[in-house]
């Protein structure tokens, strides 16, 4: 029996009086790999931000048991390119907690950061300014920052937007590997990756357009007797 990791009940959200999400219900279990898909302006990122605790829903409830630690990977273009931090600084910042006082990191944390950077092929850029990296390298740095604190749930906002195709493959294979131990929720536009690798799909266009669709016998959409094209059409992709 799998544990419930994220439970969303009847969540609605509005920016001022403009409704963005209406009556969303979702259940995500341990080691799920869930994708939130939908058209632009459909509320995908808003839903992810609610799960991450960045936005408070105007109605409904979100439950994530205390024991589960969250790692959040936002889209890198939202960050200041000129900010004077190196790749190593960014990765190390993932270990900072309340009362992480003084400017120093201990050698154990530094060793862990080096191991992660080596695994993600970032080690040769470790002293380079974050803003000067390519899109793929930036995204991998943000993933390393989320991973260094060993989270149970990883939330990613369009992890392959603004990256080249080689980095895209690397990031996807890393996510598959991570899913062996961790729960992943990802906002995505990439329907082909979603249909081949993801275990659950939530199609959000202000409301949940389709009941949750799951993998069954290797085919993501077969359980609810829906073809990939119906899902694409229904989700407005």
């Amino acid at each position: 029996m799998k544990n419930n990791v994220i439970t969303i009940e009847n969540i609605s959200f509005s920016y001022d009086s403009e409704p963005v999400l209406k009556n969303i219900n979702m259940e995500i279990y341990e080691k799920d790999f869930a994708a939130v898909i939908g058209p632009n302006g459909g509320g995908k990122t808003t839903l992810l931000k609610i799960i991450a605790g960045l936005l408070k829903p105007s109605k409904g409830s979100l439950t994530i048991p205390e024991k589960f630690k969250i790692g959040y990977v936002q889209q890198h273009p939202n960050l200041n390119r000129e900010f004077p931090v190196t790749v190593e600084d960014v990765v190390l910042s993932g270990t900072v907690k309340n009362f992480s006082l003084f400017p120093f990191f201990n050698s154990e944390v530094k060793k862990k950061a080096n191991e992660l950077m080596a695994k993600l092929e970032l080690i040769s850029f470790s002293k380079m300014q974050f803003g000067k990296l390519s899109g793929g390298q930036k995204q991998k740095t943000l993933i390393a920052r989320a991973l260094i604190d060993n989270p149970d749930i990883i939330l990613l906002d369009e992890p392959v937007a603004n990256v080249d195709s080689i980095a895209e493959d690397e990031i996807y294979s890393m996510l598959r590997e991570l899913n062996e131990e961790k729960t992943i929720v990802m906002v995505s536009h990439d329907i082909s990756f979603v249909s081949s690798a993801v275990k659950k799909v939530f199609c959000v266009n202000k409301t949940l357009e389709l009941p949750e669709t799951e993998h069954d016998d290797g085919s993501l959409f077969s359980k609810y007797n829906k073809t990939k094209n119906t899902v694409i059409h229904k989700c407005g992709l």
Binding site: P84, S93, V96
Partner: protein, 272 residues
């Protein structure tokens, strides 16, 4: 001679605080907020003078209160946050002028806060400046890692459950205490330049915050020391001379940096 020694000591103390706090103002892109704080503090100074309190103590209490107010305004996530801070900016200045106007014989005092007069710094002022310096250094040293995260990616800090509002309040308080220190050196009107020009130059040459802080400190030291010396020889207000030197150095640095980059690009193209 003693007023010169006091002036250089004040400039040294001001450079330490401005090197550290200015770097965070620059990287967090909160120059407008810092300007709002500086002008609001003038209201607190005017009120203290009117009530017969020490203006420095009034400025410090005011700076902490206004830091709290700015964090409160930011937390409301209003679309017109800029307008509210702008209103605080003008309102604080207007209140400062009004309170001073209502206090007989204090108009010259207001001019000192507006334009600074480093040559008038007394020994007791230096003790205040040193204590404020220690407070600023301690805050940035203790909370450095957390200040860096909320400056770079506050969303990530919220997900990590850091106390972002409290940290913003502490950082803004440290910045406004620095503003109080700098007001005595260059005055309110010029305080923003001394807070932002040194880190703006330093960031052209380094991508590490601790190095930017050190370069900013040395640049502030050069600007204030040379400004004081030059103002003596040309018989001009020291605050204005300090800022003219700083601004001239900024434009020269941008130009030199641009030329160096152009030269490197041209060399790379030749090689390929």
């Amino acid at each position: 001679m003693i007023f010169f020694i006091n002036a250089f000591t004040a400039a040294f103390l001001a450079s330490i605080a401005s090197g550290i706090a200015g770097t965070f103002v620059y990287i967090k892109k909160i120059t407008f907020i810092a300007g709002g704080l500086a002008h609001a503090i003038l209201g607190a100074i005017g009120f203290s003078v009117f009530m017969g309190f020490s203006p420095v103590k009034g400025a410090i209490i005011g700076s902490i209160l206004f830091s709290f107010l700015i964090v409160f305004i930011k937390n409301l996530s209003l679309h017109n946050e800029d307008t509210i801070i702008g209103t605080l900016w003008s309102g604080g200045m207007a209140a400062g002028i009004l309170f001073t106007y209502m206090t007989p014989g204090y108009n010259s005092n207001l001019m000192t806060w507006l334009f600074g007069n480093i040559l008038m710094v007394s020994k007791s002022d230096l003790i205040y400046l040193a204590l404020l310096d220690i407070a600023v250094m301690a805050l940035f040293f203790v909370f450095y890692k957390m200040f860096l995260i909320i400056s770079f990616d506050s969303d990530f800090a919220i997900v990590k459950k850091l106390k972002v509002s409290l940290l913003n309040f502490l950082m803004f308080s440290a910045i406004s205490i620095t503003i109080v220190i700098l007001m005595q050196v260059v005055g309110l009107i010029l305080v923003i330049a001394l807070l932002t020009v040194p880190p703006a130059i330093a960031s052209l040459f380094s991508c590490r915050v601790p190095i930017i802080i050190f370069i900013s400190f040395f640049l502030s030291l050069i600007f204030t020391f040379s400004g004081i010396a030059l103002s003596y020889f040309v018989n001009a207000p020291s605050g204005a001379v300090i800022i003219i030197i700083a601004v001239a150095c900024y434009f020269i640095s941008v130009l030199v940096n641009g030329l160096i980059k152009k030269f490197i690009c041209a060399s790379k193209q030749k090689l390929t």
